[in-house]
């Protein structure tokens, strides 16, 4: 091969790229790093961010225990990932939109949904997806990566309507980066330069498949280059760094300078402390102690340490927080357990107007319920 080619190839083809450590503001113990600047958040905001992360962790424990008691169905825990969830939602303005997966409970809560509404679907009721009108959250996305083109499209619509102050933030996992929809969504985002922020919650696992078997690319952030976009790696267990990076990405999405493109791919480097869902047993496929180094960087502990060091948090406040959380959780569980659903719901909202055939099916079902009683339908089929 010619020297010229040789030279060019080495530029063109260098498969190694970003190996940098993710952006941090707090070190692993919660001390502010030299040269790092903490984000512009009031003491009150910092405190309530802490409270929300703590609430998220307790919610997780409660939901898992409800599941064990058979009171809710399969639940996807978020412990270890609450820092990212809470911080990214703090970075949102109310008018911004959130596209969550099945795991972003805390992100939804912070952006306006009630705790109760998070529990309802787990109890089999749709009410939790009938999101209040002033809350800009989509129902959770379960088919992996399908939310990316949709989030892109909503941001595109906002831009078309001159509503670039309404950005869209879209969550997804490391596994999701393998799906075609990840690619198509980000490629569209690049071409149409839409006000959207794409947050990859790289928790190192897609159920049992580790990040290294998901893709041969060294980082997920570097995938942004395939779309002409900026990719940023952040320590997802550092709530302050997550907040700052997300806030900056949202700023750029809404108000880019001349040489900036609106969309950003954020790789939030995290770890899934627990099981994929309550139906999963991670001991089958990974070592328990793999979590240790990550737990050392725990977002809740780090923020606690930082707030204590800064004199913002003390034992009294902590106790108040714990009390509030307990009450909130208790109330939410009670409310969710009182939910109920009418079989008529099955037929509603399939179309704007119920077609005749659906009406007939509904009426037939109700006639049978009348005739045989509801118990006849709760026969266990298995």
């Amino acid at each position: 091969m010619s020297a010229q080619k040789e030279a060019e190839r080495s530029v063109n083809s260098d498969p190694t790229t970003i190996t940098d450590d993710p952006i941090q503001i707090l070190d692993e113990d919660g001390n502010v790093l030299p040269n790092a600047e903490v984000p512009d958040l009031s003491e009150g905001q910092l405190l309530s961010m802490y409270e929300d992360i703590k609430l998220a962790r307790k919610f997780d424990q409660r939901a898992i225990s409800l599941q064990r008691q058979g009171r809710v169905a399969t639940y996807a825990p978020m412990t270890g990932q609450e820092g990212t969830q809470v911080a990214t939602s703090y970075a949102l303005d109310d008018c911004d939109w959130l596209f969550p997966t099945y795991r972003e409970h805390a992100a939804k809560y912070v952006h306006g949904m009630s705790l109760e509404s998070l529990l309802q679907p787990l109890r089999g009721y749709r009410d939790g997806y009938a999101i209040p009108d002033d809350v800009n959250v989509m129902p959770e996305y379960i088919p992996i990566a399908t939310q990316l083109p949709q989030a892109m499209g909503m941001a595109w619509g906002h831009k078309k309507q001159g509503r670039t102050d309404e950005a869209v933030l879209c969550h997804f996992g490391d596994g999701a980066t393998s799906e075609g929809d990840f690619h198509e969504g980000l490629n569209f985002a690049g071409v149409f330069d839409v006000p959207a922020v794409f947050v990859c919650n790289n928790n190192q696992w897609a159920i049992s498949v580790p990040r290294e078997r998901q893709t041969a690319s060294e980082t997920i952030a570097q995938k942004a280059r395939a779309y002409g976009l900026e990719g940023v790696r952040v320590d997802g267990l550092d709530p302050l760094a997550m907040y700052e990076v997300t806030r900056e990405a949202l700023r750029k999405a809404k108000n880019p300078t001349d040489d900036e493109r609106r969309p950003t791919l954020i790789e939030a480097v995290q770890y899934r402390y627990g099981a994929h869902t309550t139906a999963d047993d991670p001991s089958v496929y990974r070592e328990e102690d793999e979590a240790e180094p990550w737990r050392q960087k725990d977002p809740l502990d780090r923020l606690q340490h930082y707030l204590e060091t800064e004199g913002i948090l003390d034992e009294e406040r902590e106790a108040e927080i714990d009390d509030r959380i307990e009450t909130q959780l208790g109330d939410a569980v009670d409310a969710a357990e009182n939910a109920s659903a009418d079989p008529d719901e099955i037929f509603e909202h399939v179309y704007d107007e119920m077609p005749d055939r659906l009406r007939e099916q509904r009426d037939e079902l109700n006639a049978l319920r009348e005739k045989y009683g509801d118990d006849a339908f709760s026969e266990v089929l298995e």
């Binding site: 749709r126 009410d127 997806y129 009938a130 999101i131 009108d133 989509m138 129902p139 088919p143 399908t146 990316l148 083109p149 949709q150 989030a151 892109m152 499209g153 909503m154 941001a155 595109w156 619509g157 906002h158 078309k160 309507q161 509503r163 075609g180 929809d181 690619h183 198509e184 969504g185 490629n187 569209f188 071409v191 719901e345 509603e348 909202h349 399939v350 179309y351 704007d352 077609p355 005749d356 055939r357 659906l358």
Partner: protein, 338 residues
């Protein structure tokens, strides 16, 4: 419920082919509703590979007539997002055979966002796709798989067979609060012209059309197969005195059960014609619906004249694959004589 959709008697009409009527429907809606945007592959400067969006780019600009990257899931997924943002997207799939990469977005999301959110979110949007065979197209360009979409709750499926209906059904589809799969019979895109009102009008997404009245046998069909069905009906009337009613379903989901059953109660005999493969095609649903509702009127087996259970052959043989008048005719006579 049924209405023989005859062109309105308005003074200002244009004499349009079916594809021109599609274009006119887009033009009309885009002129009056700025939420309407058209997106797809080559729909912009190029005006669509069938010219269905001809001139719209010049008229409405690149912001409303958008050439997208070559990615159907991206097109449909972003159209869902556009719709959620308050726009009224009309997405073009270049051929129905290329809708499959978008299948997940259609069946997992477009169809369900309303029910998933108990009515909070909805995705009014139209996915247009030219469908069907008979134009000597390469492989994968002749798909007719309306049954896939009719089986998915939450979607509407529409298929015009005349220029007048093409415009009116398209406008109704764009205005419809639910996602609509709008299948265009490309075989007859330019086969004939019809006077089409210049102004805006809707053909409701609820009604089948009786294209020919008759008392002996009902032929149920839609889209491109309407014409050979009508030819066959004329032939058997002329040659054998068999009086055939031809029902053009127009909206394939939800079905206009009333018109379907009424006609059968009159004739007691039915032939269903479609170009999709026979097995598990929409013809099966029509036949089953008929006998569920009117078995006591039935005087002969309900038969299907359909595409074979094979992929569409290359074009040297496609005339054997598609239901031709001769096949329809033969079946009508057999059904009439049963």
């Amino acid at each position: 419920m049924s209405s023989a959709a005859t062109p309105s008697t308005e003074s200002s009409t244009d004499n349009l082919s079916l594809v021109e009527a599609v274009r006119d429907g887009l033009y009309t809606e885009m002129s009056t509703d700025e939420r309407v945007v058209v997106l797809g592959e080559d729909v912009g400067k190029n005006g669509g590979v069938f010219r269905a969006t001809d001139g719209l780019y010049e008229e409405f600009g690149a912001g409303r007539v958008v050439d997208t990257p070559l990615a159907e899931s991206g097109i449909v997924g972003s159209a869902i997002g556009l719709s959620l943002s308050g726009m009224r997207p009309v997405a073009e799939m270049q051929f129905m055979g290329f809708i499959y990469p978008a299948f997940d977005q259609i069946v997992s999301h477009a169809s369900r966002l309303r029910s998933r959110s108990k009515g909070k979110y909805s995705v009014p949007m139209v996915i247009r796709a030219p469908y069907g065979g008979g134009i000597r197209a390469p492989e994968h360009h002749s798909e007719s798989k309306e049954a896939f979409f009719a089986h998915e709750p939450g979607l509407k499926v529409v298929c015009p067979s005349t220029p007048y209906d093409a415009k009116g059904l398209l406008i109704a589809s764009i205005r419809d609060p639910d996602p609509v799969i709008f299948l265009e019979p490309k075989l007859i895109y330019r086969a004939f012209r019809e006077d089409v009102p210049m102004e805006s009008y809707e053909v409701p997404l609820a009604d089948a059309a009786i294209r020919r009245e008759g008392s002996d046998v009902t032929v149920y069909t839609w889209g491109a197969m309407t014409r050979p069905s009508l030819i066959a009906a004329d032939n058997v009337a002329e040659e054998y005195g068999v009086d055939v009613e031809v029902v053009d379903l127009r909206t394939l989901s939800p079905l206009d059960v009333e018109t379907i059953v009424d006609s059968f109660q009159k004739t007691g005999r039915a032939v269903i014609v479609h170009e999709a493969p026979k097995t598990a095609g929409l013809g099966a649903e029509v036949a089953t619906t008929i006998q569920e509702n009117a078995v006591l009127y039935q005087e002969a087996p309900i038969e299907r004249v359909a595409g074979f259970d094979t992929p569409m052959p290359l074009h040297a043989l496609e005339d054997y694959y598609l239901p031709q008048a001769v096949r329809i005719q033969d079946q009508i006579l057999e059904t009439a004589d049963f």
